[in-house]
Symmetry: C2
Subunit: 138 residues, 2 copies
Amino acid sequence: MTDNGYTVKPIGVVHSDLAGRQAAPHQGFEGAPYAWVEVNPAVAEGLEGITAGAEIILVTWLHQSRRDQLQVHPRRDLNRPLTGVFATRSPDRPNPIGLHRVRVMEIMGNRLKVGPLEAIEGTPVIDIKPVLPQSADA
Amino acid sequence: MTDNGYTVKPIGVVHSDLAGRQAAPHQGFEGAPYAWVEVNPAVAEGLEGITAGAEIILVTWLHQSRRDQLQVHPRRDLNRPLTGVFATRSPDRPNPIGLHRVRVMEIMGNRLKVGPLEAIEGTPVIDIKPVLPQSADA
């Protein structure tokens, strides 16, 4: 570790019909569409073992977010009190990491069709993890 | 985005009796201890709204990991076939991000007692998120 932090390198990118934040639902289970994740060929062998039908956690970098927000009104509802970003899923947070539990619908080489997914077109993907049946967790 | 990626800055650190990777269970639910998360004072107002008893997702940077591994034997068991890291929870992966679903046991200012947690002493924390009851997901 350095005082300047760590470097995250995208392993892929989201291709979605959602063009921008305004169009995106707050959560995947709120009517989000299916999307394709295109994994960089250089790391595609890391996909070995993922099968259609599996549930995975996509970890994204929410690249359009503000990193200087520490409190927000949840769901941008001004009637809800200011809340610490670590108690919310706001994309605006010091490290704008997104977690998305999705199902793999189809696999074509280095591309995975997944959903429902609220991440917008062009969102960098930084990790993919299996959902562990024992814990049903992140 | 740049070709060089994004910079993640730690928002805190894990204090645990687990001194190193050899001592750590593979998953939190496999007998891991409770630990303290010390959040940097500069971002501590982001904790507002987290309460004792809540379940949260700790997002960590698994700083002792190898980033050049694309396939591993799951659970370091050589009898299990080589598997893509994105189909496993191996800490060795291109971006060594850890996800840990834990319960908040106690809050003292900018410190949270959480567990069970398999992350080792000194692990940087890069984000904290609530578990959403609607999705029971990451």
